[in-house]
Subunit: 219 residues, 2 copies
DNA sequence: CCTACCGATCGGTAGG
DNA sequence: CCTACCGATCGGTAGG
């Protein structure tokens, strides 16, 4: 399903086409992207259903129908907002550690970047994907639910690959199943995000980091 | 803040007054409770904002204003729904293991009951409190947010006490900080609920149980 | 991108 | 507990 060497789905965005001379489309894309980044901020606080076209329009100083014209429906706006949020997530969590050689140091850097992303409130309402997953997790036959589920699967698979590479490098206990460890890392990080949003107590990040360190072990 | 011997806030419900002869109030309370249990089911799927008075009324075969008359406002309905959901949570998770003597066996029973509560979908949309915490975690000055935060604190404190008692009994490694262990148990259980709701894959409960067993250790 | 509008639904009220 | 209603807001459309 997910190629071991391939993070393209997680890391790719719709490419900005560059083969037309006039700046109209580019400006259009820039407008669209700024709309979607504002939408992602709003949705991380209010949810993707609470993200209403009227409210977003007011916030952007646009008319409702002017904004609506960029998308065909509320669901299209929701899906485009998820794609924009994914770009921001990749920039803050997935990409930075990719320049490091594979192995334990890179895995640790990834986990640190992930906790930093929560702590810095890269989205004003905490992790966008944590919010949306909880909001849509029990709605059957919903496109939003399906795409965030696939995103979660990919993130878990991504963690798994980094864990396996650290094991292959002999820098991590090979007796631990990568999928089990990925589950536990995801649990610790997600719980820290949730509790931080509720309690505004940054010591939860120390708890998550402590838990992760214990799972990584000393060698 | 929370007395070590006291689970009253977590376990108590508004007592049903019994000192009046006529059954009107009792019937009223029964009606109210059935409304609120339906409300809790609905909210676990749609969220506490998605729980609209009109929808709940339709589901119960009542008029909107007839239902509304039981509560003064939507916020009152939300708070009463939380109290009803708390009763169900206590019945399934908190209460059963309380008949066991304090110690490791009781802690393990509690964790098993908690996972069973997720697995059995005691609420149709998964854990009511997991949903509501995520929905309200980034809304400032909100009564719902404050009460579910307090409920979470109490549940964590409850886990902590059970952990400490198992340590005092010499049945659990005393070098682990109870609050750290409670954080990790909460993380593992919450992640299992979330992933089960999204993926409908019951192996996540094995992952959570495996993680918990590893944290409990062999002695 | 706008104004002007649509039917449906929201939380809530009046009056019984 | 009901019918009948309120103003506000929802997603969405017509027409420019």
């Amino acid at each position: 399903m997910v190629d071991a060497e391939d993070l393209e789905t997680l890391a790719s965005a719709e490419p900005v086409s560059d083969d037309e001379a006039d700046g109209r489309k580019r400006r259009g894309n820039a407008t669209r992207e700024s709309i979607l980044q504002a939408a992602a901020d709003l949705a991380s606080v209010e949810g993707l259903e609470g993200l209403t076209i009227g409210r977003l329009a007011t916030e952007l100083g646009m008319s409702k129908s002017g904004l609506f014209a960029h998308f065909g429906s509320k669901e299209e706006l929701q899906l485009a907002t998820i794609a924009a949020a994914r770009r921001r997530f990749v920039d803050h969590v997935v990409r930075p550690s990719r320049s490091l050689p594979r192995g334990r140091a890179r895995l640790e850097a990834l986990l640190e970047d992930w906790l930093r992303y929560f702590r810095a409130e890269v989205f004003p309402g905490g992790c966008f994907f944590c919010s949306v997953k909880a909001e849509f997790d029990s709605r059957p036959d919903n496109a939003v639910r399906e795409i965030v589920t696939e995103d979660m699967r990919q993130f878990l698979a991504f963690l798994e690959r980094e864990i396996a590479k650290a094991q292959e490098a002999g820098e991590l206990d090979p007796s631990v199943e990568p999928a089990q460890l990925a589950f536990e890392f995801d649990a610790l990080g997600s719980a820290a995000n949730q509790q931080f949003q509720l309690m505004h107590d940054r010591t939860v990040f120390d708890r998550a980091a402590t838990g992760m360190r214990a799972r990584l072990g000393s060698a």
